[in-house]
């Protein structure tokens, strides 16, 4: 083979060098392409994740109405008397409306804002006996708005919430509630929740009429005076008397009040056990302080004289509840609940509840239920005319007595995914009959309409 001339050898070397450069350029172009592809692929994945902010939108409306009717005697206002003056009959008509708005923020977190308004109207025979002759007002209205906000991160299984509550009625100036909650799901179908709640109440010191302050202020002479009268409606009037005659009409004054605070730390854990069973455990630590009795609850002592209920200014409660729900077959669900309760006033109670919804179709169910409750009285309870003058604390309120109660009834639920009538998504009606061994009997009918 003849030797290559020097010029040819140089040309071959140049071509080799250019090939290497071409490879570099090609690799660079491919690299840039891949970089661009990668960059666009990030944008594409961002778009496809569904994390598009969505403004709050009305998602659900709930309307709950109830009628409650109770017959009883031994009212707390009359210190547990069993005659006609101890009448504890009550009727209550309550209506509540909840509006739930749901939206998504730019990070895909679900925001829910729920506003509620409740209005109750009641009549209570015992309330009339705040006046010792039974002439006080025997009805009242309660208004209670609520506002709750929550944010849920589904990817992390976490939810955080804040809530406020306000209530006003004739016998307390206000009850203000605040709460915050946090829940976390684990990878084993469990969920742990904690909720902190505070209620801050101002109780109006409405006294039974025989304890109304009389001739207590501004006596201008032995015959002239200002008489303060506090009515059951909570209104205190100042009547000016001169020589035994009322003059100048009346002027409304402010009824004194006392504070009652309630702090609660609630912990719960819910667990899916298998495809048909799930359960939960809940425990509350409740601490109350302030005026824990009511100023118009009488206590009749064994001397025959009456006084006003007097209870300790602190109470610590510890309830623990368990739920277990079982889906039996295709049509029957067994819902069970048990609660054990203890507090530092000496009360111990047990609550057992079982409900068995039967599904006629996936959207129509009938739910009969039964509840049994038993409690041991607080240390400070005695019936009418059984307390002695040496007792430090005393009450004759039968809600704090030893008794048992039973409740039974049924609920009918109709829910259709495409609506029952237009936007009406769910209808539920429920009846409950309740009896206590203190001779208290009550019936409740409730209706829940859900619109979506």
């Amino acid at each position: 083979m003849a030797a290559r001339p020097a010029a040819v050898a140089g040309a071959i070397e140049t071509i080799k060098t250019e090939k290497i450069d071409m490879r570099k350029i090609c690799l660079t172009v491919v690299g840039m392409y891949l970089m661009l592809l990668h960059a666009f692929s990030q944008v594409a994945s961002s778009d496809s994740s569904g994390y598009k902010a969505r403004k709050l939108k009305l998602e659900e409306v709930n309307l709950v109405s109830s009628y409650y009717n109770q017959t009883a005697d031994k009212s707390a206002v009359m210190g547990g008397r069993t005659d006609y003056k101890g009448n504890g009959d009550v009727t209550d008509l309550s209506n509540g409306l909840d509006l739930k708005f749901v939206g998504l923020d730019s990070k895909g977190r679900k925001n829910a804002l729920t506003g509620g308004l409740g209005i109750d109207y009641h009549t209570a025979a015992s309330q009339a006996y705040v006046d010792s002759n039974g002439h006080a007002r025997n009805n009242g209205t309660r208004i209670y708005p609520t506002l709750d906000w929550s944010i849920e991160n589904e990817r992390k299984g976490m939810e955080f919430g804040l809530g406020t509550y306000y209530s006003a009625e004739h016998n307390y100036y206000h009850s203000l509630g605040l709460n915050t909650s946090l829940s976390k799901k684990n990878h084993h179908n469990g969920e742990f929740s904690v909720k902190l709640t505070g209620y801050f109440d101002r109780i109006k010191m409405i006294l039974p009429s025989e304890f109304d302050p009389v001739d207590s202020v501004k006596s201008t002479s032995s015959a002239d005076s200002v008489v303060y009268i506090t009515t059951a409606s909570g209104r205190t009037e100042a009547l000016t008397y001169v020589n035994g005659q009322a003059v100048g009409g009346s002027s409304t004054t402010i009824t004194p009040s006392k504070a009652r605070d309630t702090y609660t730390a609630s912990f719960s854990f819910a667990q899916v056990i298998n495809q048909r069973i799930q359960g939960s455990i809940a425990m509350d630590f409740v601490y109350q302080s302030g005026y824990l009795g009511l100023p118009f609850h009488r206590v009749y002592l064994n001397t025959g004289k009456d006084t006003i209920e007097n209870l300790p200014s602190q109470r610590f409660k510890l309830p623990i509840g368990f739920r277990l729900n079982y889906f039996l077959g295709d049509n029957i669900i067994i819902r069970t609940y048990y609660r054990l309760y203890i507090d530092n006033w000496g009360m111990v109670s047990h609550t057992a509840n079982v409900e068995v919804p039967f599904k006629f179709t996936p959207f129509i169910s009938l739910s009969p239920f039964y509840r049994y409750y038993v409690q041991k009285a607080v240390n400070y309870f005695s019936p009418y005319e059984k307390h002695s003058t040496s007792d430090q604390y005393y009450t004759s309120n039968y809600a704090l007595a030893s008794f048992s109660s039973q409740s039974y009834g049924a609920g009918l639920r109709i829910a259709a995914p495409n609506g029952i009538f237009g936007s009406l998504n769910m209808l539920e009606i429920r009846y409950a009959h309740y009896t206590q061994t203190t001779d208290l009997v009550a019936d409740v009918v409730s209706l829940n309409l859900k619109f979506k």
Partner: protein, 74 residues
């Protein structure tokens, strides 16, 4: 003595609950668990009943309902 019984009872119930053999349940297997009747809470329609029980009985709590606030005195 009562407190001791309370805690023993609570712990026994807790142990019973935890002793259930939890089997893994996938999302697509939760059609029964997710049924609206299986919810681990009270229904909205029970609200007045729960209020009345809170007022007429000496105990409350551990059921998702109110633990204080307001009067409930009649």
């Amino acid at each position: 003595m009562t407190k001791t019984r309370f805690f023993i009872g609570a712990l026994a119930t807790l142990a019973t609950f935890l002793s259930f053999s939890c089997s893994p349940v996938k999302e697509y297997q939760k059609n029964r668990i997710n049924d609206s009747e299986m919810i681990l809470a009270n229904r909205k329609v029970e609200k007045t009943e729960l209020n009345a029980q809170t007022y007429r009985e000496g105990s409350s709590g551990a059921n998702g309902g109110k633990t204080g606030g307001g009067c409930g005195c009649n």
